[in-house]
């Protein structure tokens, strides 16, 4: 997982990293242990934060289109992992937000399809900028 690989850079950015998944704490703990992750994980079983963040439910084409499959295969080769068992809503997409004190959102990238993840470099730049104020 790229976030795990770059966790020290996120720590150095001065921003707090928080990764939110669907399912239960037990699901997330199993994921953390199987992947040997050292990043802060939280769970939102009801997906309330997903909805409030404005993330979307994908269409079939946005989940299983050729571009998504190609990107998934590339990520599997790069990270040496394959997608685990889906927990929660299978068509729920994710996103990234940088928030400053005072509830100010300084960066947001919500996935348009299953392969749409912002580069970590871009998120790190946003995190550093938010820390500088």
């Amino acid at each position: 997982m790229q976030l795990h690989r770059d966790r020290s850079e996120f720590e150095a950015s001065g921003a707090r990293l928080a990764v939110i998944g669907q399912g239960t704490p037990a699901h997330a703990a199993q994921f953390r242990d199987s992947q040997k992750l050292e990043i802060p994980l939280y769970v939102d079983e009801g997906r309330d934060t997903y909805k409030e963040a404005g993330t979307k439910i994908a269409t079939v084409g946005e989940l299983l289109g050729p571009a998504m499959i190609a990107k998934g295969a590339k990520a599997s080769r790069r990270d040496g992992v394959v997608q685990g068992r889906t927990v929660g809503h299978p068509a729920q997409l994710g996103g990234v937000m940088v928030v400053r004190p005072g509830n100010e959102i300084t960066y947001v990238h919500l996935a348009g399809d299953a392969s749409d993840n912002p580069p970590n470099d871009e998120v790190l730049r946003a995190a550093r900028a938010a820390s500088r104020g």
């Binding site: 996120f10 950015s13 001065g14 921003a15 707090r16 990293l17 928080a18 990764v19 939110i20 998944g21 669907q22 704490p25 699901h27 997330a28 199993q30 992947q35 802060p40 994980l41 939280y42 769970v43 939102d44 079983e45 309330d48 934060t49 997903y50 409030e52 963040a53 404005g54 993330t55 979307k56 439910i57 994908a58 269409t59 079939v60 946005e62 992992v81 997608q83 685990g84 068992r85 929660g88 299978p90 068509a91 729920q92 994710g94 996103g95 990234v96 937000m97 940088v98 928030v99 400053r100 004190p101 509830n103 100010e104 959102i105 300084t106 919500l110 996935a111 995190a127 938010a130 820390s131």
Partner: protein, 56 residues
């Protein structure tokens, strides 16, 4: 047309909020099952929030 994987039948738009006030009071759980008010994560400094599509 049947819904596959719970997918939406119509293409949706993402709708990020203007600010994180609505997120701040929502509660998630840590891996010990403790409630965590989301806004507590950025009370003292910026936070990078990542919503996963799936585990893996």
């Amino acid at each position: 047309m049947p819904r596959i994987l719970g997918a939406s039948l119509r293409r949706q738009e993402v709708r990020p909020p203007e600010d994180a006030g609505g997120l701040a009071d929502l509660v998630v759980k840590d891996l010990d099952g403790n409630d965590v008010r989301l806004g507590s994560l950025w009370e003292d400094g910026p936070a990078v929030l990542v919503w996963l599509r799936h585990y893996g």
